[in-house]
Symmetry: C2
């Protein structure tokens, strides 16, 4: 194996040799900031997934080290994320009661399966699969998932139990009809946390800069909202004894010590049951991770290798399953913070991991009085960013089909659940693409003045000949559109018996598959039966190479293949002594 | 409703007013010939479907009349066909014992469901759906189905029971290990029938023409193979009493009289169970029918309306379900015979129907001694035509992906069954199409001599500039290829830091969806971060119209949209005082 090849598989070889003190300082600061952010986030997302809070911390140690050793991104911060946590909750909710041993075992198995799937996909170089999720589908999915996640936190914010449901209307209905059970102290903590988080997020940095603070420090302080909320509410509960006196739900005992070594249980029936969900979790997690990794890499003109990312995330998830964690991936906001805080190599992630390991070893007693309402508020503010109306508005203006697939995915997630929603959305966007390419744009063209240019007769003033029809087809020819092409051409010829020559302009045809080749051959025969010769013009090099393999030009019979449409029209009109050309000037406005 | 519109829905209004004696003579002869062909075929296909022979005759009366009144094809001959019969047998084999009342009721319900699906698809104008079955998939499916059908007849040809199996190897294995049970008389009848059918089909017409017979009469006589085989073997069994003495299985009693009026049983659980199969039967039947209808119509410069065909076939199947029949469609060979015999209007089909009605009323006793082995031989010879190696050979030469989807469909049908096979084939061909469009051909181009033409640097001797990269992308941009485009462009720019301007040539881009628009916007930013400006050239009118809706040109920042690539290169090289152009002459041969 060459050294360059080895570096692809072990990206650490790329950066470790040139590592210096300056880089260590940068990575150290970034690692610390991410660790401060990740402690409450990790616990919050674990609770969202229906797991004990420490599982979120365990999932933020070994996975980060494994990703740091194998990942091709310099700034990606791996760990628990909101959407994957929701998917874990939805999946495990069907097999066990939250809090039971079966539930925890299921989470560990899910991490293992996701890891195995990601590793397998990376080795089979299947990173491209994720491209089949279109941006509108992802946007619709994220917005709907954010709503589901947000409303799933209502019980923590209000302080009374609301049965889990993927139907928001049910959650809201239950909350409204049982509002008398509201726990005032919990609700107050949630409200204060939300206000702190929102103020820090939106107003603090501009205000600090306005009073003359160094912008870098101002931005840094603005990110400390979660830390401030955690400190303030934890201390309040502790000093006021709100957990005892007012029934505020707290994180309470977190076992001190490093993550336990765990082994996923290999129950075949359970594996079979979890496999579809593990596949979706892998794909969605990979998608989130690789998008943010790409976006950060291009800012420094670095490259991301999607297949190496699959391998690194696979290793991270297997790491999670061996150390009491649950599925992880690269998080969006966390990675942006890591990047902005100056992380230059994956050592920043490894430093984060060490700090979180120290936390679970030494500082868990400090988290005892942390109210769950604060964690819920952190989740709500984090996922609010995912609600994205802008993409819908833009898609509506730009292309209604994209807007439709966004709306359909959004509604499918809200009404039918997270897993079905994304599958339905992906299926729909592929169906809409196939539908569009199955009805290609076709234009009759004519000559512009005395130039060699040919344009759409409906858009331009052009000259045509009554016995020669020149048609341009604006799509590659393949099985799904070949019948449409045939029907359109035969209908034109049937409606205009004066046509004797048909020139098909192929400059937008990038490929002709075997079905379309068949159809072209049939078309030659059918047109000949109707007294019309078929000619091609402007056939592209690669397309012509293939046509020559099957001697297509011989099958055209009396038809020719012309280099340019101009040549074709010149030849066909002189040959048949056509009358004078007709001038036509965009007779209809439709395209 | 206008008169023209009415004619679309009732094509009979189109031909009935001008109908004359000459047309009646032509239709009469064609109707008679098809009836003679259809009596043994109908019975044979009913046996193939696991149904009593008379069901095949019943399915050849009312459905033909309904199609004749509603169909847009002038020459299509509707009735039982081989592949649909096989699919009926596969489906019903899972719900009841062949010969039971449940089996017959299932067949009637299946005809009703297919009819309803076809009618519904016609009204929803979903005729295009059938285009998503590619020719290689259809070829692989037909070849494999022909093998399955052929081997399913082995028991009738050999005269001993072989358990039904979709695995040919099992059928052959059972036949070989039980060959001692062979019924010699049955086998002799089968062999004689096969020889007659093959001789008539292959040798008779050339020989008759060779001895000076009128070619039309020679071709007509050559089609009488099934009739001759039926007559000869029926008479042999009758006179020699082979059914009694030698255990030859015969058609025996067929109830005399017109088809019974039947009503499908509306058992919801059964409907749910049969629905997927009914959908596939409808699609496959419609596909066979519309292909042959189109092929015949174009020979006379007539049009086929796919949606009207759906309605007519839907009515035909509902007709079948109301008169004791089973699913029908337009048959390939039968329609060719109808057309060649001179049918000019659907009245030919109605005449066929009347003749078959007379047959079931009066002539069923004549069919008593008809051996099942003869019917099996008719099926085997008919389906042998479907085995199609040529399409595979051609696809292999032309495009390996098409050959692969053909082979995969063929193998899936043989190993996993008819229904799963065609679904798998269709899915694979769509996946291969998506895969191809997800990795578009991209070429760096340079200027040819001092012309305004730009060509692939790998194929032509062209001039380029070190700081300007001109790339042509040969595919519409959509969600599945947009990441590929981005990666390729960013990788080029990362590898060649001297590049300052990137011109993307869009003359082969027929569409840009919202995901690709997003990517282009991101690409502008990522390239800017890397010190490169993105420009577009040769953007098509409809694509530009959409880009203008979202003010894309403003988002390009320092980039421009040029009408031609020549303009772009002229402008960008003069503006930046580039050095002298480099001459490059197809440095690599790969495309």
């Amino acid at each position: 194996m060459t050294r360059a090849r080895l570096k692809t598989y072990l990206p650490i070889l790329d950066w470790l040799p040139g590592y210096d003190r300056q880089a260590l300082t940068n990575d150290g600061i970034a690692g610390l900031i991410v660790a401060i952010m990740l402690v409450p986030q990790g616990m919050a997302y674990a609770l969202l997934a229906g797991l004990p809070p420490e599982v979120g911390l365990y999932a933020s140690i070994v996975p980060l080290v494994f990703y740091g050793l194998l990942g091709s991104s310099r700034a990606l911060a791996v760990g628990p994320v909101a959407i994957v946590s929701l998917m874990v909750a939805t999946t495990l909710g069907q097999i066990a009661e939250s809090g039971s041993a079966g539930y925890l075992g299921g989470a560990i198995l899910l991490a293992f399966l996701s890891g195995a799937i990601l590793l397998g996909m990376g080795m089979a170089r299947l990173g491209f699969l994720v491209n089949f999720l279109s941006h509108p589908v992802i946007s619709g999915f994220s917005s709907a998932a954010a709503l589901v996640i947000g409303f799933s936190q209502l019980k923590h914010l209000l302080g009374f139990d609301i049965p889990r449901s993927h139907l928001i209307t049910e959650t809201i209905g239950h909350a409204v009809t049982h509002i008398s059970q509201l726990n005032p102290a919990t609700f107050a903590i949630a409200a204060v946390s939300l206000v702190i988080l929102l103020l820090f997020k939106g107003r603090l940095a501009p205000w600090l800069k306005g009073v003359g603070l160094n912008p870098a420090i101002a931005d840094g302080l603005a990110k400390s909202g979660p830390l401030v909320a955690v400190l303030l509410t934890t201390l309040s509960v502790w000093f006021l004894g709100l957990n005892q006196s007012a029934g505020v739900s707290i994180v309470a005992d977190i076992p001190a010590g490093l993550p336990p070594l765990t082994l996923p249980g290999f129950d075949l029936a359970l594996i079979q049951q979890l496999l579809p969900a593990a596949l979706l979790i892998s794909l969605v997690g990979f998608l989130e991770s690789v998008s943010v990794a790409k976006s950060l890499a291009s800012k420094r003109r670095q490259k991301i290798d999607a297949n190496q990312e699959l391998i690194a995330l696979g290793a991270a998830n297997i790491g999670a399953s061996l150390t009491g964690g649950y599925p992880v991936t690269g998080g969006f906001s966390r990675s942006l913070v890591n990047f902005a805080a100056g992380a230059v190599t994956p050592l920043a992630s490894i430093i984060t991991a060490v700090l979180i390991a120290l936390t679970v070893l030494l500082f868990t007693p400090l988290l005892y009085f942390l109210p769950k309402a604060t964690l819920a508020a952190i989740i709500v503010v984090a996922v609010a960013n995912l609600i994205d109306l802008k993409t819908f508005r833009e898609a509506w203006v730009y292309n209604k089909a994209d807007a439709a697939s966004l709306a359909a995915t959004f509604l499918a997630v809200l009404t039918l659940g997270v897993e079905f929603g994304i599958v339905a959305g992906a299926g729909l966007s592929i169906a809409l693409y196939l539908w569009r390419t199955s009805r290609p744009h076709m234009a009759e063209v004519g000559r512009v003045g005395s130039t060699e240019h040919f344009r759409n007769v409906l858009r331009h003033e052009v000259q045509t000949h009554p016995d020669v029809l020149a048609m341009r087809v604006d799509e590659s020819l393949y099985f799904a559109n070949t019948a449409y092409l045939e029907d359109e051409l035969l209908a034109r010829v049937a409606d205009h018996p004066e046509i004797k020559q048909l020139v098909l302009i192929m400059n937008a045809v990038n490929f002709i598959d075997a079905s379309a080749l068949d159809t072209l051959e049939t078309l030659v025969v059918r047109l000949r039966d109707a007294g019309v010769a078929l000619h091609l013009s402007e056939v592209k090099g690669p397309v012509m190479d293939r046509l020559e393999r099957v001697s297509f030009s011989a099958k055209l019979g009396k038809g020719n293949i012309y280099l340019s449409t101009h040549d074709a029209i010149q030849d066909l009109t002189s040959q048949h002594a056509s009358g004078p050309p007709l001038t036509r000037s965009g007779e209809r406005v439709a395209v």
